[in-house]
Symmetry: C2
Subunit: 385 residues, 2 copies
């Protein structure tokens, strides 16, 4: 049984039950039963989010094709159903907290090997390029993102796109699910390309890297082909609109898909604008994981951001559907100039846009222009007029 056979079988089931959630809705339903064997319809309804009459209808169809059995102690997945599910993805674990049942706990210690492999690669990145609002999520955050996707039954997709991936979450995904699915990363930073190439070599992955400035539309060959995108956009509403728009260009427009968004807290009016734009683009927010992502540094945001799961409905429409020339990064709207002093020779160096050093990270990498030492103290900071 291959993916295409499974899909054509499920497409028949789908048309019999007229499920708005489509084939991936059916796969989720099957995965729910697989995760909780011998469940009652009421519990399957709660877990899947489908009303009971619809659950009964789907179950009956799955019994007909012998993917599910209907026993007195509840419904279970048959060997045939298991095979189909296994072909689509092998990761079907819940991380529900055993204490409260509404939170998530991640036994990081069980994923030590993945963390170590991932850290060996993320360590190669060098400092974040803060000019393009890069700030790196911790290695644990990258892992926990993909585990959360798993908890939400989102690791059965065929095609995953990363709209920017300075956190290397794509590698965490590949380390978790192996080569079951196709993973593509769109990023402008060639350091990311080099690391992904290294990961592909070392671990025999097939992650595709597309060097791409996301201000430009997604190339035709990649459009309308993905089931899931993951993004951590620049920390502005424009950046958000642009990266989500690119994500939507990638998603299969007739089936829809899923999007995972990392974004920090903004003032209420900006957050409202964000939700307005998302619903305009047909992105339905299903989960808000507050303070989920932890970053190295990024003190202004308190070092955290929220993680959103969105269902991208069929017929989704990007707000920005051509090349984008406007502001994108926090530094562009109100460029900040900072004056640093070398702790050793005391000379002062201006850091900011149109200066020799655009960020303090760059200055630290090169060292003091006078004495070549690496320790600086901030003397002044001001927004440009």
């Amino acid at each position: 049984m291959d993916r295409d056979t499974i899909f054509s079988t499920l497409s028949q089931v789908g048309s019999n039950v007229r499920l708005q959630e489509g084939i991936y809705g059916l796969i989720k339903f099957l995965a729910v039963i697989d995760r909780y064997p011998h469940s009652s319809m009421i519990n399957i309804s709660k877990e899947s989010g489908f009303p009971i009459p619809i659950c009964v209808a789907i179950r009956n169809e799955l019994v007909k094709i012998k993917w599910c059995s209907k026993e007195s102690k509840g419904t279970s997945v048959t060997e045939l159903g298991s095979k189909a599910l296994f072909e689509l993805g092998r990761f079907n674990k819940s991380f529900s907290c055993s204490n409260c049942e509404n939170g998530l706990t991640f036994p990081i210690e069980n994923y030590k090997e993945i963390i170590e492999k991932l850290r060996a690669l993320t360590d190669l990145r060098g400092p974040p390029n803060t000019v393009i609002d890069q700030s790196f999520a911790t290695t644990e955050t990258s892992l926990v993102r993909v585990l959360t996707m798993g908890d939400n039954y989102d690791l059965f997709f065929r095609n995953y796109a990363f709209v920017g991936d300075s956190d290397l979450t794509s590698i965490a995904l590949a380390l978790l699910i192996g080569s079951k699915s196709r993973i593509t990363v769109f990023d402008i930073d060639t350091r990311i390309r080099d690391i992904i190439e290294k990961a592909n070599e070392e671990h025999n992955f097939d992650i595709i890297f597309v060097e791409h400035d996301l201000r430009t539309s997604i190339p035709e060959e990649y459009r309308n082909k993905y089931d899931c995108f993951v993004t951590d956009p620049p920390y502005t509403i424009d950046g958000l609109n642009l990266f989500i728009s690119r994500g939507i260009e990638l998603i299969n427009n007739s089936t829809g898909g899923v999007g995972y968004l990392s974004f920090g807290n903004k003032p209420p009016n900006d957050q409202l604008l964000m939700q307005k734009n998302l619903s305009k683009m047909r992105c339905l927010i299903t989960h808000i994981f507050a303070r989920f992502n932890e970053y190295i540094g990024a003190q202004k945001l308190g070092g955290v951001s929220n993680f959103y799961r969105m269902q991208i409905l069929s017929g989704a429409k990007p707000i920005i559907d051509n090349n984008y020339e406007g502001f994108l990064y926090t530094g562009e709207r109100k460029p900040t100039k900072r004056l640093y002093q070398c702790k050793n020779c005391k000379i002062e160096i201006e850091v900011g846009q149109n200066q020799k050093f655009v960020t303090i990270e760059q200055l630290k990498e090169v060292g003091c222009p006078e004495c070549k030492k690496y320790i600086f103290q901030k003397k002044r900071e001001r927004k440009a007029e």
Copy 2:
């Protein structure tokens, strides 16, 4: 120190720091420090959701008016600050799960007395009126709703409105916070009025009941006066739009406020429409508690619904701003007719709109028209054309 003094003091602080979240944002900030004494700015920023520079600015202002102290081990609330907070509300508890920290756990056993008092009152309601989509939440759900409001720093408000309250959550609130705040219930069901009057007598509460058909606009005297509304609308998009619109009419339009919404899972397109409408009305979804509410019966929904917290931004605008004459309840759009048979005398009785018995609950209450027995079997169910 009374509420007005506190508010004028905080209004000065607010104008000094220009906080978009307004006075209640400052109260939340104070409550965060009160809940977590000796906290670092980074932790206060994480918990409050305000960026660190803004946290520092607020803290400095609160130190100036001697409501907070600034010590080497972190910030704390002074006796004066405590007094102010205590005047606004006494409930400042976290229910964060100690295991996962991102879920909530409610030690129901600590609230046994409230549960018992509440159950004694909810037991008086009689059967739900399913014609107006009533289905009663469990007593525990009513309590846990208000505890969740507390966890979210939402029990410091002056005025609470319940837009429909067949679950008697208003009484759970009064049992929890006493007479600190004003609570008003708007409902068409006079059984609710009778129970609230009884609760007022027994427990010396001042809950105001306004007998009101929510199809009609909120009377002028109640508009623009509340800080928080709670609603569990009829299970249709029209019902949702109407009840949220009425909630917004109640909220103080210049300061904004908070709304708590209970609503079941709908197909994705309907959920998207819901989010679109909410953001159009300037309701910002901050929390989605999936499968939070449990109902007695309500099997079609799997007996559960989601609980949403929304920030109602200043200048919020209802979608429905006059009297509403359209469909509202699930039964109106596609009225269902059911045929029941008396288990005893075998006569058949049609139940549904325009019949003598509109619901099976009514039939059971009156008994079989022939033999007066109370047990019936459903023979047939169909949607009217």
